[in-house]
């Protein structure tokens, strides 16, 4: 009975609930709790409608089951006594636990991540000396980020660029990040000073003397890269690890510039380095196990999650993300409203719309990378998307975010609206493509290319593909990764293959699934890292 309960408001405004008769059942207490929650709810009622809407806004329309269930549990639970609320919560939780998305995410974020960080891809039994002093070549966006990551992990770093001023930018970058860390209480002044003291910047090659690893991050130009390696090699420790941060250039080719190709490896970081956990280690044709082991250990030392892939233009991540952008831009060319393309990706769970991403990367860079692909490969497939990127860059001077204009217009760095002129550059304005097709064209374009990467040996394991796709190129996390997406698709790999065939029929040959897809995935389903969460 509620009348046996006293509500007392203290001077501090806090209300205490007391049972007059301590022998009263727990139910009484629950009823009192429910009554007080009802009062809270009454006050909240006016705001309740905003909660689901705010959730939809924050998740950018991605319909993730857990956040929705949590909100539902909180609101539904508050209407009833606490025992019933627990029952309601349990029902929601069981739905989540037994759902595919939880399986996907546990598979990726627990098992796959553990396998990758635990060294599944590191050659076993190879003992190597840990790296202590790192030379970073180039103090641009990437070089500065890499230098900071190394110094923060306690390594000595020497950053070299063409002038003392240019090299000094690496120090300024570190100062900025450290000042913020101190402000937020994540580091002390002393910590910050220690990190800064470990960073030396220079324009002199002899300052690199004794470094036992070099990470090159100069412009994306093979000749320049070879030249800087040649220049610094004599200064380094004789067995120094030789790494390039190139994002697309084949490692085997770059290794031709050095006399010890076995020590040469790709260490592909992601921007911004201090926030992106992934590192894509690229093994060239002649890269030795020791180099791989050292690169792997270095990656772990600086807190990165290293996937290991084999060589190939664009490796895994840069290549597959290209399919995503190509497909999206292609849909714009077909006449799908650009806003729909962005919405489709965001609602599919991508963290950024493909057109915003393309602006971010810069259309000029996308154009340049594509031309390198074009020049290097006979299999190069010209796509309508390429024409649009060329027009934006060459005819309309809209090269991307840095310039303040690309697919979007930018005002002082803030993204504004999509460029209305896009509508005039399309071939079939107003073409209606089902929303699900928009989403799956992007997801499938990436998944199919990832399968090809497995086929071609660029990818060594599904685990690396899953982790690399989520942490490196924003493949939707709910899928548990790009290959797990194929496995978990309704109907399994066979369902995926059938849907791919359908997309191929509607939108082009590039969606044709590999013949042996189903058999191959079935055959490898038992491998430890993949076996979990994909049943």
């Amino acid at each position: 009975m509620t009348d046996t309960i006293r509500y007392d408001r203290g001077a501090d405004g806090i209300v205490t609930l007391t049972l007059d008769d301590p022998t009263q059942s727990a139910n009484t207490m629950n009823r009192a709790y429910a009554a007080s929650m009802c009062a809270v709810l009454d006050r909240l009622a006016a705001q309740l409608p905003a909660f689901p809407a705010t959730l939809r806004k924050q998740l950018k329309g991605a319909r993730l089951p857990a956040p929705e269930a949590i909100l539902a549990t909180a609101v539904e639970g508050a209407q009833v006594d606490v025992e019933t609320a627990f029952t309601v919560e349990t029902r929601h939780l069981i739905g989540l636990l037994t759902g595919q998305v939880a399986k996907n995410m546990i598979g990726a974020f627990f098992f796959d991540l553990k396998a990758v960080n635990g060294g599944a891809a590191r050659p076993s039994g190879v003992d190597v000396a840990p790296v202590r002093r790192v030379a970073v070549l180039g103090a641009g966006m990437m070089g500065a980020g890499i230098a900071y990551a190394c110094a923060s992990a306690g390594l000595e770093v020497v950053v070299r660029d063409v002038s003392p001023e240019a090299a000094g930018r690496a120090r300024e970058h570190a100062e900025r990040l450290l000042a913020r860390a101190v402000r937020k209480g994540r580091a002390t002044e002393a910590d910050a000073r220690a990190v800064l003291d470990r960073i030396t910047t220079t324009d002199q090659v002899d300052a690199l003397t004794g470094c036992d690893a070099v990470i090159e991050a100069v412009f994306e130009d093979p000749a320049l890269k070879k030249a800087v390696f040649a220049e610094v090699l004599p200064m380094l420790a004789p067995d120094a690890l030789l790494a390039s941060n190139t994002s697309t250039l084949p490692i085997t080719g770059l290794a031709e510039g050095v006399d010890r190709p076995a020590d040469f490896i790709g260490m592909h970081f992601f921007s911004p380095v201090d926030r992106m956990p992934l590192l894509e280690i690229v093994v060239g044709d002649r890269t030795g196990d020791e180099a791989l082991a050292r690169a792997f250990d270095l990656a772990r030392r600086i807190g990165k999650t290293p996937i290991v892939v084999n060589d190939g233009r664009g490796f895994f991540t840069s290549r597959v993300i290209g399919r995503f952008i190509d497909e999206a831009v292609g849909m714009v060319v077909e006449g799908v409203p650009a806003a729909s393309v962005e919405q489709a990706a965001l609602q599919a769970g991508y963290p950024t719309g493909p057109l915003a991403l393309a602006d971010e990367v810069s259309l000029t860079l996308i154009q340049r990378i594509r031309r390198q692909f074009e020049a290097a490969s006979e299999e190069y497939l010209p796509l309508p998307a390429h024409r649009l990127v060329d027009e934006l860059v060459d005819a309309y001077d809209r090269p991307g975010r840095a310039a303040g204009r690309g697919f979007y217009s930018y005002d002082d760095g803030t993204r504004g609206r999509l460029w209305p002129g896009l509508a005039d550059l399309v071939t079939d304005a107003g073409r209606a493509v089902p929303f699900t097709d928009l989403q799956e064209r992007m997801l499938f374009a990436e998944a199919l290319d990832a399968l090809r990467c497995l086929d071609e040996g660029v990818l060594r394991t599904e685990t690396d593909a899953n982790i690399g796709s989520i942490f490196g190129i924003g493949f939707p996390a709910w899928t548990g990764g790009v290959i797990r997406y194929v496995r978990q698709y309704a109907g399994g790999p066979a369902g995926f293959a059938a849907r791919a065939a359908e997309l191929a029929q509607r939108y082009g040959e590039r969606f044709t699934p590999p013949d042996d897809l189903v058999d191959r995935l079935a055959a490898s389903a038992g491998r430890p890292a993949e076996s979990v969460g994909t049943a």
């Binding site: 309740l48 409608p49 929705e68 539902a72 489709a344």
Partner: protein
């Protein structure tokens, strides 16, 4: 022997501003209804209340003093015989017309012969939304149905249709001008029954909401009402996730081009041919078609378009057979979209203004519009009208009225 459904009379209260300074704020909702029952009996001396069977009232916020089946309580308080029932119904903004249509269908069934139908809403006393709603407040439901509030839907329609702020303000101005002319010309005189106190003193005799002094410039200065809720609370995002080809919602609706919040009630006397003959009542019109239907719940306010088509099909008529249209001015864009989609002559639509000027007492409006349409058909000596309202949750109700 089933009969046609005849409208014998229609009355309404004036609409008071729906706030604590409004003239009807001191009047209980039940009193508004009882006042109208009294007025109907006075106006129709032949009306034998012993023949009345039920009172159907649309009430959109049926809680507190509007709750507990107010219709039955009102019937009793008005001194109607014990056998006259009372039922409250809720189809959001169309509740008043829903009551009329339900009554008409019951008359046409042949089972009943004389019914009172209408609605009441005292928005100053029982605030809109205070009854809660799973649709809006249950996360699972809201998420699954892409719930957004009406104002955001109205702005969404304007954005999709390309109606500019100037377009919607222009329509609002016309509503004010037409309402002012209608009042000056006595177009509402036949239906409006003054609200009086127990001492017989007038409390309100005219609609209190219109602002005849409205100018385009004044409207242009008003701040959009639904921008903050759309942007800060995430409702724009919800709408855009569904209407994904749009990049942003243009918030064009405000206090001057949305329906006003008011207090009021309306009643319609509906019966069979036989009862009219028995009681010596002259039928004013027949209800020849009625329909309810749904449309996209996020766009929400386009239901009148399919509802009109459906009601006309029921009546075996086409748009060309209709002389006048009354569509509730929930928001200016709702009317502009209706006129555009049906290809109507704007001079046949809401000729005496609408809820933008006069106000929208939720549960009562549908029955009020029926009376307004009927009066105007008679005044102009025309034959047929369509009355329709857009509805929360994405529904539409329409009624086709034909003079006898």
């Amino acid at each position: 022997m089933p009969s046609e459904a005849y409208v014998y009379d229609a009355v309404r209260t004036p609409r008071g501003r729906g706030r604590d300074t409004g003239a009807l704020h001191g009047v209980k909702p039940i009193s508004l209804v009882v006042g109208l029952i009294d007025a109907l009996r006075e106006r129709n001396p032949g009306l034998d209340v012993g023949r009345l069977e039920d009172l159907l009232l649309g009430i959109v916020t049926p809680v507190g003093e509007q709750g507990g089946d107010l219709a039955r309580a009102a019937a009793l308080l008005a001194g109607l015989p014990d056998q006259v029932g009372g039922v409250q119904l809720n189809r959001f903004c169309a509740s008043g017309l829903e009551a009329v249509n339900a009554a008409a269908a019951r008359i046409r069934s042949g089972w009943e012969h004389l019914l009172l139908a209408g609605g009441v809403e005292s928005m100053s006393r029982v605030p809109m939304g205070s009854d809660g709603a799973a649709w809006a407040t249950d996360p699972q439901t809201a998420l699954a149905t892409s719930f957004v509030p009406q104002g955001v839907s109205a702005d969404l329609i304007a954005t999709l249709e390309g109606f500019s702020r100037d377009d919607v303000d222009g329509y609002a101005l016309r509503s004010q001008e037409r309402a002012a002319k209608a009042w000056a010309g006595g177009h509402f005189a036949r239906s409006v029954v003054p609200v009086r106190d127990a001492n017989g003193l007038d409390i309100l005799t005219v609609d209190e909401h219109p602002r005849p002094e409205t100018t385009r410039e004044a409207l242009a200065r008003l701040t959009p009402s639904f921008a903050t809720m759309g942007e800060a609370a995430g409702f724009d995002a919800v709408a855009l996730q569904k209407f994904h080809w749009l990049e942003a919602i243009e918030h064009v609706h405000h206090a001057g081009n949305s329906s006003g919040i008011v207090d009021g009630a309306a009643l319609v006397l509906i019966g069979s041919e036989e009862v009219g003959r028995d009681l010596g009542l002259t039928p004013r019109a027949r209800i020849v078609g009625a329909a309810v239907t749904g449309a996209d719940p996020t766009l929400m306010l386009t239901g009148p378009i399919p509802a009109t088509h459906k009601a006309l099909a029921v009546a075996g008529l086409t748009l060309d057979d209709i002389d006048l249209f009354e569509i509730n001015e929930a928001f200016a864009a709702v009317v502009l979209k209706y006129v555009r989609d049906l290809g109507l002559d704007p001079d046949r639509v809401n000729v005496n203004g609408g809820a933008i000027a006069l106000g929208h007492p939720l549960g009562a409006t549908g029955a009020m519009l029926l009376g307004t349409a009927l009066d105007e058909l008679e005044r102009r000596d025309l034959r047929r009208a369509v009355v329709t309202l857009c509805i929360g949750g994405g529904m539409g109700v329409a009624t086709v009225l034909e003079r006898c």
